[in-house]
């Protein structure tokens, strides 16, 4: 093979009190798809941020096409030929797709500083078409586009910079299965053109399908770089999680109860789709679906965030849930997927966050009962092992895992009967993940009924007593305990009808 297009040598990055990366070497050749793997907290995102110009490394050198260089900003990196597609979109939802792709670009400006709209639209449409987004009208404002179309715009934006190196962070996370295939086509085309691609994903199946090489990071250190032919799923997992692999999911040692706590009958998700299912006492019911399948809407409906038709029966009694307050009164609790936006109030203390849903119960008349609030907060700090010097500390200073425990804790205090967990371990490191899994198990054992909605297949498989698979607003399959593996699950969630005969 030719010279590497990008070489990183001895890259270290220190934050106050934390060494995020130490002495990482990384080489990238033209025309290769290089998978970057590791658990959350392994240093993947730090490495990507250094590569894309967000952070400067504390130590180490970066060489691009043989020349030593540094990136002053993301824009600088892009101009030098290194583009990144973030998992979270950086789009201007008030602007058209085309403008998002070519925002603030001198080459689109003609005489008298006039933006050449037709050129801009044509180029943008061409780029979008080339990655299978032909149905997207690039003149439309991005806020009118669906999630997967928005992602296509993101990819087109990165490609518009004539990138030599393209970093793709969980590119398939938001895409439905057929779009993933199209995205692979694009990746293959880019590879053929000699673009080097850093492909970051948790999805094993994709890695084996698309990648040429794989590099694994763990705890800020590079474990190894290997050719894809030389690894198996098992060996990769081994490399990623080390010896903790067996203890991640605790052994389920108790059967769920018999009585039905929650019965959902024709609960509408939108005007055309509805679901029905039951949840038993002490059961962990997994709900799996690719983004856009409606699993999030199920949670929103059950928690009263969204209104619709259909019946919800709790312990056999019909319940009208039109607001989160109604849900809370029916002893339903909800740990939402995005804790920064929906879970914690950052400037407030752990104690204030933990007590938020329960304040009416923690008051004497109108006045807050400080003693009870303190005792309650300390109790749950200890129960959930929230690591902080004091519960009066602001939650902003906690790690992702501890923040997530605060979100879970604030609902446990309300002594719910039904707990909806959505993406309970998103952005949480491995250690905290195991702890949270243990907590979930313990809660189920104590008789709490849990609806687990997650896009992480291992999590759903490892924790659930039963798994419902949701596809385009319908429940298409049910796996009993121990029945599902990742491949089957993904297949059912992606294109169930190809297998025939399920419905």
């Amino acid at each position: 093979m030719s010279q590497p297009v990008l070489t990183m040598e001895g890259i270290s990055k220190e934050f106050p009190g934390v060494k995020a990366l130490s002495g990482v070497n990384f080489e990238l050749f033209p025309g290769e798809v290089h998978a970057l793997m590791g658990e959350n907290g392994a240093g993947k995102s730090t490495l990507m941020k250094i590569l894309s110009g967000v952070y400067a490394p504390t130590q180490g050198t970066i060489r691009l096409k043989g020349k030593e260089t540094s990136f002053r900003s993301p824009l600088d990196a892009q101009r030098q030929g290194v583009s990144i597609i973030h998992q979270e979109f950086n789009l201007f939802t008030n602007l058209s797709a085309a403008e998002n792709i070519f925002i603030d670009r001198p080459e689109m400006v003609g005489r008298f500083g006039r933006i050449q709209w037709s050129k801009l639209y044509n180029e943008a449409q061409r780029l979008v078409d080339s990655i299978g987004g032909g149905e997207i009208d690039v003149r439309r404002e991005v806020r009118h586009l669906g999630v997967h179309s928005q992602q296509v715009v993101e990819i087109a934006k990165a490609l518009s910079f004539q990138a030599d190196v393209l970093i793709m962070d969980e590119p398939s996370a938001a895409l439905p299965e057929n779009e993933v295939k199209k995205m692979f086509d694009v990746v293959n085309r880019l590879r053929a053109q000699g673009v080097a691609i850093v492909y970051v994903s948790h999805r094993m199946k994709e890695i084996f399908e698309i990648a040429d090489k794989v590099t694994v990071l763990r705890d800020g250190v590079k474990i190894d770089t290997r050719s894809i032919e030389d690894v198996t799923e098992q060996s990769l997992i081994q490399m990623m999680v080390g010896k903790e692999v067996h203890r991640l999911y605790p052994v389920r040692d108790q059967e769920p109860g018999e009585e039905t706590v929650l019965k959902v009958d024709r609960l509408s998700l939108d005007s055309a789709h509805a679901v029905s299912f039951e949840l038993r006492k002490g059961e962990i019911l997994g709900l799996f679906g690719v983004p856009g399948s409606g699993s999030h809407t199920v949670a929103e409906r059950l928690f009263g965030l969204k209104r619709g038709t259909g019946d919800i029966l709790i312990n056999g009694k019909a319940a009208r849930i039109n607001s989160p307050g109604d849900a809370k009164a029916r002893k339903i609790a909800y740990v939402p997927p995005d804790r920064h936006r929906q879970g914690i109030i950052k400037p407030m203390s752990i104690r204030q966050n933990l007590s938020l849903p329960m304040l009416p119960q923690l008051s004497k008349g109108l006045v807050l009962d400080r003693g009870r609030i303190r005792r309650m907060s300390e109790e749950y700090m200890e129960k959930l092992r929230i690591k902080a010097p004091s519960d009066e500390q602001s939650v902003d200073f906690l790690s992702g895992g501890n923040q997530q425990k605060v979100v879970i804790g604030k609902w446990l205090a309300s002594k719910p009967e039904i707990l909806i967990l959505e993406e309970p371990t998103r952005g949480v490191d491995v250690g905290a993940k195991a702890e949270i899994y243990n907590i979930i198990h313990r809660l189920a054992r104590e008789g709490l009924s849990i609806l687990l909605i997650s896009s992480e297949m291992p999590e759903v498989i490892g924790l659930s007593d039963r798994i419902l698979v949701l596809y385009k607003g319908e429940i298409v399959h049910e796996f009993a305990h121990g029945e599902a593996d990742q491949e089957q699950l993904l297949q059912r969630a992606s294109h169930p009808r190809l297998e025939g005969g399920i419905l």
Partner: protein, 320 residues
């Protein structure tokens, strides 16, 4: 028709037409060329100031000081004229003072990073004080004949101030729609952090927008002074900022930034102008004029909100 309804400004267009028709039915004097000219003429300074306010609101800010800037510049122009300075030079100097005021706002907002509303609330007090101070408490009036041209003159058979307003509207529509600087304003207002990632400097754009707003208010104040014929520093432009902000928001702008167009704003100004003119022409009791105006503003906002909800429902695809 459906395409038309999807235009961002659709509700305000329809509402304006409805109000227009209503007044035309109530009063035969309303729907006449003369009266339409009159409505345009009465709102020239509003049109011009509203262009600046549109940009400010697009950036997610607001400018409470425009009325006071108008008072400062109009008073200065009056003083210059009183000194016997040539009307054109006096006008240019006045506009320069408007730019200066914009730079003061821009400095505190963009460079010192103090929130817009605080800065402009403060400069609202300060500029007003300065205006009345330099006026010495007297009216600026008895302007020379040559100065009348700015507010009342004709060029090629068209009202000069109207021509200026049309040119400015065209320039700023072009600026906002067709230039990088203009699109940057939308980008910053739409998603500040994404703009930063794309290497767009919010501070530069903000500074520029406040300076341009100062410029526009300067121009508006020259026209104002010439048209009205006298300037009272303590009250000139008193309720201007609220009215102009209302016009921008009625025209489809969002106080959170990123959404709005000059065309929409101009409709908003027109809408307010039609109401004020129409109510008087329709011989409504003067006591009812303000109450009705406020009610119609609220109604316009309600309609805008409904449109926004409708549009969000029309989002493509999935269940999420």
């Amino acid at each position: 028709m459906k395409r038309l309804l999807n235009v961002h400004e659709a509700p305000i267009i329809i509402f304006t037409i409805a109000v227009f028709l209503l007044f035309s039915v109530i009063s035969p004097d309303f729907f006449q060329l003369d009266n339409i000219k009159l409505i345009l003429d009465q709102n020239i300074s509003m049109f011009i100031v509203a262009i600046g306010m549109t940009m400010v609101i697009l950036l997610g800010g607001m400018d409470l000081s425009v009325g006071s800037v108008l008072a400062v510049t109009a008073t200065s122009v009056g003083l210059f004229l009183g000194q016997g300075i040539h009307p054109w030079i006096a006008a240019l100097m006045g506009i320069g003072i408007g730019v200066l005021c914009g730079m003061v706002n821009g400095y505190f907002i963009a460079v010192r990073k103090i929130p817009d509303i605080i800065v402009t609330l403060a400069t609202m007090y300060i500029f007003r004080g300065i205006a009345v101070g330099i006026s010495g408490g007297t009216w600026m009036t008895n302007f020379p004949e040559g100065f009348r041209f700015f507010g009342q003159g004709q060029l090629l058979g068209i009202s000069f101030p109207l021509l200026i307003a049309v040119v400015l509207i065209a320039v700023f529509v072009y600026l906002l729609k067709f230039t990088r600087s203009g699109r940057k304003i939308y980008a910053i207002g739409g998603n500040g952090s994404a703009a930063k990632l794309a290497g767009i400097s919010a501070a530069k754009s903000k500074f520029m927008v406040y300076v341009l707003t100062g410029l526009l208010v300067g121009i508006a104040s020259v026209i104002f002074a010439s048209k009205v014929g006298s300037v009272q520093a303590s009250t000139a432009g008193n309720s201007l900022s609220f009215e102009v902000m209302a016009a921008v928001l009625i025209g489809g702008g969002s106080i959170f930034g990123g959404v709005g167009t000059v065309a929409g704003t101009m409709l908003g100004v027109l809408f307010m102008g039609i109401i004020k003119n129409g109510l008087i022409i329709s011989k409504v009791s003067p006591f009812w004029v303000d109450a009705t105006t406020g009610f119609l503003i609220i109604l316009a906002i309600v309609i805008n909100t409904l449109q926004r909800i409708r549009q969000n429902k029309g989002k493509e695809g999935d269940l999420i």
